[in-house]
């Protein structure tokens, strides 16, 4: 009898499950909300903007953040002393109205704006920003930054209520660029110390938007800072939604769940273009992808071999294949096209056309008539893994047998830094100042680090880079010096440049006054823009 009950129980259970499924099948999926809104002229106040980010941020504490997806949010919460113009060609004042640089490039003195107030937090209530805050924030960054973002700073001195002097460890003409990083944003001491380790979850700054809430793994919501010193933001609410998948991101944009999709993939581009409510914005990115060859050991230490490899590779065909649906342009220089140091005249120095015969000749000269074995080291990133495969095939045609070593980031950077990678594929993206590229790639001090893992060693080049960094802040003079750096470096064929990846954003048409930036950072309210939405 008892057994019967148990079995009946199981039976009923099964029946309930059946009913559940039948019931479920009746429900509809939500419909897309694509209603046209009436057109009006002139900026409108109010409404909310939803921005899709491709990764989930971990912390919004300036000294702790490590990823660009985090700085995308921080740009709207914090202000820095100085900032880039939206096209990133020039640095202008932000919290500082003016600054002076000493002749030895060791002291930067800033005059602060006097109408800036912090957001209301738990420990400060709309307090005015002071010189002490600047000193506190920058010294905190100098000593605690996870990325060493201000390691050049020796100390900050409060001269008077509105003046702060920053003293550097060594002369640095590129120092201002460092200060534009949201990692060097100005924070109130009371909040940082009050929250302790949790400040990154409850950020307070002086920026256009005030932190409101953080739904883990889903979104961060900000609200308008009514007292923002530049202007009152049009938007009432700014939401950053985390969508860690490119296809999902495009779908969310199509359905109107988000207004701006960052990080749109090539194949999705067509789909988005076809929708009349969506505009695609592209911009050559502040990056360069390249293959570097080891100059210290192995066959590639011989310039003839490096030249042979450069002739053996058909970069045009590779870029065309990898980006079949668009999204990149071929690179010729070790500098992003949008950097002020870029000089198109130098492109002629690059080996542009494939020439298998010449490659074979050069190999023969170098004593590798029968080729040799080598390894292409790449991190596990789709574009570079593809390039590695194409390179492998193209190198085989001149007799070079290349093995592909696909590594996780930690092992990859370790191997490259130690100079153990014969050929490695690297992507570099940073500030527009050429120092953040050329010093990292070609200065002897960077041997043993990721940027110069190939061991490029040339005293003259190092001296020129030092000069460009330490002798003047005049952009034209520095540009001329960097031109020489590139000429001398490229003459040694240290690397084969791959491509500049384009930043691609998808934007719903109701969003006004928004433009994609070269560094692919989302900026909503700056001194040049105040994004608003049509309601």
């Amino acid at each position: 009898m008892k057994r019967k009950t148990k079995v009946t129980f199981l039976l009923i259970f099964t029946i309930i499950m059946t009913l559940l499924v039948v019931g479920c099948q009746g429900t509809n999926k939500p419909e897309n909300d694509n209603k046209e809104k009436p057109d009006t002229t002139g900026p409108q106040d109010g409404g909310q903007l939803v921005v899709g980010l491709s990764q989930v941020p971990k912390t919004l504490d300036p000294v702790k953040y490590t990823g660009t997806y985090e700085s995308n949010i921080m740009n709207s919460i914090y202000d820095t002393l100085v900032a880039w113009t939206d096209d990133q060609q020039k640095i202008v004042g932000s919290l500082a109205t003016d600054w002076k640089v000493s002749d030895n490039l060791l002291e930067y003195t800033f005059t602060l704006r006097d109408n800036v107030y912090f957001h209301d937090g738990k420990y400060v209530k709309g307090r005015k920003l002071t010189a002490e805050d600047v000193k506190y924030s920058l010294e905190r960054s100098a000593t605690q930054s996870a990325m060493g973002r201000l390691s050049d700073l020796k100390e900050a001195v409060v001269v008077d209520e509105e003046t702060v002097k920053l003293i550097l460890k060594q002369p640095n003409a590129a120092f201002l660029a460092r200060l534009t990083d949201p990692g060097n944003g100005i924070v109130p001491k009371e909040e940082v110390e009050g929250w302790g380790d949790e400040f990154g979850q409850h950020p307070v700054g002086t920026g256009p938007f005030v932190f409101d809430s953080w739904a883990k793994d889903d979104n961060v919501t900000l609200v308008r800072n009514e007292k923002y010193w530049v202007t009152k933001p049009h938007l009432e609410k700014l939401v950053f939604k985390f969508i860690p998948d490119q296809a999902m991101m495009s779908n969310a944009l199509l359905s109107g769940d988000i207004d701006i999709a960052t990080d749109v993939a090539g194949p999705d581009r067509q789909k988005l273009k076809a929708d009349k409510n969506i505009t695609i914005q592209t911009m050559p990115g502040m990056n360069v992808y390249f293959a570097a060859m080891n100059m210290q050991k192995g066959p590639t230490a011989d310039i003839r071999v490096r030249k042979a490899i450069a002739y053996a590779l058909d970069v045009d065909a590779a870029v065309k294949n990898i980006f079949q649906f668009g999204g990149a342009t071929r690179a010729y220089l070790p500098l992003p096209k949008k950097s002020w140091g870029y000089d198109p005249a130098l492109e002629e120095l690059a080996i542009k056309e494939r020439n298998v015969e010449k490659a074979k000749e050069l190999l023969k000269e170098a004593g590798y008539e029968n080729g040799f074995k080598t390894t292409i080291v790449t991190p596990n990133k789709p574009y570079r893994v593809k390039w590695a495969q194409i390179m492998q095939t193209q190198l085989a045609e001149v007799g070079i047998q290349a093995d592909i070593e696909k590594l996780e980031w930690g092992s990859y950077s370790d191997k490259v830094s130690k100079g153990e990678a014969p050929i490695y594929l690297l992507a570099w993206t940073w500030f527009p100042d050429p120092d953040f590229f050329l010093f990292q790639f070609f200065h002897k001090a960077q041997i043993g680090r990721l940027g110069n893992g190939q061991g490029f060693l040339d005293e003259e080049v190092s001296a020129l880079i030092d000069e460009a960094k330490a002798s003047t802040i005049d952009q034209d003079k520095r540009k001329a010096l960097y031109k020489q750096v590139m000429e001398k470096a490229m003459a040694q064929v240290p690397r084969v440049e791959g491509w500049h990846k384009e930043n691609i954003n998808g934007i719903r048409n109701r969003v006004q006054d928004y433009n994609i930036c070269p560094d692919d950072q989302v900026r909503i309210v700056t001194q040049e823009r105040n994004v608003w939405v049509k309601q």
Binding site: V7, T18, K29, S145, M147, K216, D217, M248, E408, W430
Partner: protein, 319 residues
């Protein structure tokens, strides 16, 4: 009975200890540096080194294992390296999603497989029988990830009926979640469905041949009453066992299914953690899954004994 349960629970301790050793060794053998992964390309060597110190990755392995075990006993799975959050919080976010997916798949599997199995048994050697059992073999041979892609191709890309990825959000109503659930749960249900159909059929066949069924038939009871009332309930017992055994398979299948459909569950969480070298997350997540697995097996075994008291349970359970 109680003695049996206690004995089984005690037996779990060495198994879990063994899992902890294996998972610890594997996570430490994996080359790579979570600190470097976290800091990315612009990090200086000094910054990476400092972070390693802070994360306790420089301590001797035995110390690290001791710490891991001690925390485990206290029920603490540590802090995720990549997310700066307690591992248990991340698991508690993701696990219900995996359960939802697995349960939906189990549901689909049962609803399709049980009737098919019964009909196949009742009409043994019929065309339907051959056809459905061949189909079941195809189901067992199915690469889940491929089926997943094909479902996406047909139902998302071509017909645009269901979303291809993600889980949707409750904010958009239950319908949103269900429409996201359809494709992954169908993909995940294939293998259990095929297994269930085969088991139902074979245990049905066995039951049908029993005397009391013959008696019932002889009494002139209608066929469907005989099958539905007498045969079915008796053939449910083996199905229940198989369902239990299927849990491990489902968790494995879920890893792949979640990867394809970007379903925010445990499988994706752990695969992602392996990629990021987030050792704490990997060891915590795997320990958690192993714990769930042995507990489910235990419950299934106990249920089995409960439904089927004739079984001499002292001889069961691997002794």
């Amino acid at each position: 009975m109680l003695k049996y349960i206690v004995k089984r629970i005690l037996g779990l301790i060495p198994v879990l200890l063994c899992v902890s050793v294996v998972v610890f060794i594997i996570t430490r053998v994996i080359p790579g540096d979570p600190a470097a992964v976290m800091l990315g390309p612009q990090a200086t060597n000094e910054a990476v080194e400092a972070l390693r110190q802070k994360l306790g990755l420089e301590d001797p392995l035995l110390v690290q294992y001791g710490r891991f075990l001690l925390q485990l006993i206290k029920g603490d799975l540590g802090i995720s390296i990549a997310y700066h959050q307690p591992v248990i919080n991340l698991i508690l976010n993701a696990f219900p999603n995996t359960v939802l997916l697995a349960f939906a798949a189990l549901l689909i599997a049962t609803i399709v497989a049980v009737p098919v199995g019964i009909i196949s048994a009742v009409k043994q050697y019929s065309f339907f029988d051959y056809f459905s059992m061949t189909l079941a073999l195809v189901g067992v041979s199915m690469p889940v990830y491929w089926l997943g892609l094909m479902l996406v191709l047909v139902f998302s890309i071509k017909l645009q009926l269901f979303p291809a990825i993600g889980m949707g959000s409750l904010e958009n109503g239950l319908g949103d979640i269900i429409s996201h659930l359809v494709l992954p749960s169908i993909a995940l249900s294939t293998i259990p469905m095929a297994n269930f159909a085969r088991i139902t059929r074979s245990s049905m066949l066995e039951v049908i041949r029993q005397d009391y069924i013959r008696t019932a038939r002889a009494k002139g009871l209608q066929e469907w009453i005989v099958i539905g009332k007498h045969a079915l309930k008796n053939s449910m017992v083996p199905l229940l066992t198989v369902m239990g055994m299927q849990i491990s398979m489902m968790l494995s299948g879920a890893v792949l299914t979640e990867t394809i459909f970007a379903w925010p569950g445990m499988g994706r969480l752990i695969v992602d953690a392996i990629e990021k070298r987030d050792f704490m997350m990997v060891q915590g997540g795997v320990m958690f899954l192993a714990f769930i697995f042995v507990m489910v097996n235990l419950i299934v075994d106990i249920l089995y004994v409960w439904v089927n008291p004739r079984i001499n349970y002292d001889n069961k359970g691997g002794k």
